[in-house]
Symmetry: C2
Subunit: 484 residues, 2 copies
């Protein structure tokens, strides 16, 4: 028992989420074996527990892509320097973060490792697109990306190499292109809600924060427990910017040549980090059931004299559940207390305990990871449905809890001092702003890092406010905050 | 009609496989839109048609991995130079092909882009493995790899960046490790046979050809139509070589520390190239049905006056098939002849033609891509099963055809001059060899590129032969040939 406690202290989370969220987060990620530090600073290892979540995200979104007519492909990681220079703003935006390789190509051209793939993909599109019959052309790739961050790196949230998906579509008309740019944003929001139980705000990025080379960037943003915002996915309406830079033209229905319209969109493994940060607690990881590698863990509680009976019943329960659920049994030689702690640390949504008393009554004890509440249920045909509905409840509870948190910490104010004060207290603020880049830069400087996150589609009715930064007439209400 | 012919000439394959296999292969890959050249020499684009095949390979093999207890993860692409130097032979083997990045890490350490991931993964394993209870540890990753080839590059067969999977397992005992190294090789051979209809020879690599750092390398090799061999997957028994270099030790059941035993294994997108090269013909791509993006294409043949009736019947047929098959309908305004050619170029396993006469008889015409033979079948409930069994026949025919080709072109000989002559005529030769690296190097030099491919597990009964290269007593029979 004392040795169990000692091990628990070593293995469990030793700081509270409310006291030091940064240290707490690192411990949760490392101790639940989601990810690990790599020997190269700013890189990370996605361990099987973390990669499983990524595979579930891929599975979900591959279905969406298929339904929307987007096909997967793979483009080279190396991009010639000349490609970057074709779209001036794009080059300017990404240049500081690019990693180049020592080897040059046959023309002594410098080669970048992709920080994003617009240029290399659009060079191919310029060869593939000939006629309006080739459009829409919708392609996606799942790949690794390198952006040499100088900002503080954080496991799963900000790293120099990360995994993502990037969709790149080409259209005949502006209207279709714009429509689908927003449609993919909707799908991102749905993914966050349905799979990861993360509520998001949908909207547009300001001029300053938009993607380098885009006409408009749309974003989904959420609020983390410490009051910092996080960008979880963006879709970009590129108009004809890249089509002109890369000569993507097509023969229209009238036989005349036109530049195509394009969009691009992406999300990354950062989704995993946000899921962890949002839902987990002082006991460790809390995972939405749909992405949990193990959804149900059965913990048998026995002594030598009743071991066989308990384990045979546990086998029976496992067989009942495993057709519809990812389930395992903890057969280690640890104490029950140790096993309970471990299942909580790992974020397993439901723990099923079976001891002598349960066995005698023909019941199991079900423990929910999100609330840590217990209930008993008969070991019969209804157990599978009970567990399934409990998992759904857990998902909904996680979402609602996060939604309440966001609502509670959303401050609408037209007063600069008030906004900054509230943000420093762990909120984000919805404030009126003009659309001036300089004004936004000044906001960031004067507040030591507060930036605009999203111009929500859902705008307050009030108009005629003044920009909280410069006092000129405001253009829209914008969420501002510190951010991951 | 003349315009159709002109387009056909432009779009179809313009050389025969038997006359110029290299040019034929490039045309098949490019014109069926499997892959495309990248602007950076030696890199390639996997287009949706090609990437689909890779996804099917991943799907198949992910099931195998799960069944064998191997979990997916992702390790960083950047490897510090110091890691390579820890295993001397590994460093020596890979150094010439490594691409380094210009940026250094915080310790001014040079960083490589992974040519393979043993070193970066085993550094993590040295931290993760503590006790025999942590073993076996079985992890796999799907990722991109860079090897700066100076040899001629070829779409899907040899490129500087490619996609692969690499499995890395750690065991308590030598016996278990060796057993699973061979088990994964068996799974590779099954994948080739069951999914890609490729017959392979299983065996061991010679001392000279084994993986840098391995004790033994096992391989599956096949023979391509031009008599060149191709390596399609390898598994490596690493013994304790890397465990000692990276300090992967565990506390054994007796409480004492031991070095672990390890294996690694991988195959790449080259599997797609071999599939194309082996099965395709002068009309274009031929694909094994299980990996074909479209398995059945329906081509309606109609005039304005019977258009509605034909198309409505086509819809009905499509609905019947699409629950169990990947099926589409060619509704383009091309001529039927053009449509037939295109479905053949793209390697669609079955074409269903429906014209006025078919409609009147209540039948469709089924055309097999592998044999180009036609048959009619009633449009009724039995059509789905007919198509399914035809697809199975196609798969088996492709496999058997390839197997016959290999058998016919396998020459067993103990005579050096005979072996070289037969290899130059498009065969591979099974010859007796000693196990001397120098002798193997001399073979390659004297013959302008003939190398050892595999020491087959299935050895001829004859012993007491002399090495065809040096005349000393031979150790085993070895397949030698030119290779991709």
């Amino acid at each position: 028992m004392s040795s169990g406690n000692k091990r628990n202290k070593d293995v469990g989370i030793t700081v509270k989420k409310s006291e030091d969220i940064s240290e707490w987060y690192s411990q949760v990620v490392l101790k639940s074996k989601l990810a690990d530090y790599a020997p190269v600073k700013g890189c990370m290892i996605l361990r099987p527990n973390g990669y499983f979540i990524w595979e579930k995200i891929q599975e979900y979104f591959n279905n969406v892509l298929e339904e929307k007519g987007v096909k997967n492909a793979y483009f080279p990681m190396f991009i010639p320097e000349s490609f970057f220079l074709k779209e001036a703003k794009h080059a300017e935006g990404f240049n500081p973060e690019v990693a180049w390789i020592e080897r040059k190509d046959e023309n002594e051209m410098r080669l970048a490792i992709r920080p994003t793939s617009e240029t290399i993909i659009y060079d191919a599109y310029s060869r593939w697109v000939r006629s309006w019959r080739d459009l829409p052309l919708r392609i996606n790739q799942w790949c690794n990306i390198v952006r040499w961050e100088t900002n503080a790196v954080k496991l799963l949230l900000r790293s120099r190499e990360f995994l993502w998906h990037e969709g790149h579509c080409v259209y005949e008309t502006e209207e279709e292109c714009k429509k689908e740019t927003l449609m993919f944003l909707d799908e991102y929001a749905k993914l966050c809600k349905d799979l990861l139980a993360i509520p998001v705000v949908k909207g547009e990025k300001t001029e300053k924060e938009k993607f380098a080379g885009a006409i408009k960037t749309y974003t989904i943003e959420s609020l983390m427990p410490d009051g910092k915002a996080i960008q979880l996915g963006t879709t970009h309406y590129l108009g004809q910017n890249f089509a002109k830079a890369f000569d993507i033209t097509f023969l229209g229905r009238d036989g005349k040549p036109y530049y195509a319209y394009q969009n691009s969109f992406g999300f990354s493994t950062r989704l995993i980090g946000a899921t962890v940060l949002l839902h987990s607690d002082d006991k460790g990881l809390v995972l939405p059931p749909k992405v949990a590698p193990i959804q149900v863990r059965i913990v048998p509680i026995f002594r030598e004299e009743n071991k066989d009976k308990i384990l045979s019943k546990v086998d029976e329960i496992k067989s009942m559940l495993e057709a519809k659920l990812r389930v395992d049994v903890d057969l280690s030689d640890n104490t029950p207390g140790w096993k309970f702690n471990e299942s909580e640390l790992l974020g397993i949504p439901i723990r099923i305990e079976l001891g002598q008393k349960d066995l005698e009554k023909g019941v199991v004890t079900l423990v929910r990871r999100d609330t840590l509440t217990k209930e008993t249920h008969a070991i019969d045909d209804s157990l599978v449905d009970k567990v399934l509905s409990l998992l759904e409840e857990i998902h909904n509870n996680l979402y609602n809890r996060a939604k309440e948190h966001i609502d509670k910490h959303t401050i609408k104010t037209a007063n600069f001092v008030d906004a900054v004060e509230k943000i420093n207290e762990g909120n984000w603020a919805l404030v009126p702003l003009c659309d001036d880049v300089i004004c936004e830069e000044s906001l960031k400087e004067r507040t030591d890092g507060i930036t605009t996150r999203v111009i929500p589609f859902d705008q307050p009715k009030e108009k005629d406010f003044k920009c909280i930064s410069c006092g000129k007439p405001a253009k829209h209400w914008v969420f501002i905050s510190r951010a991951y």
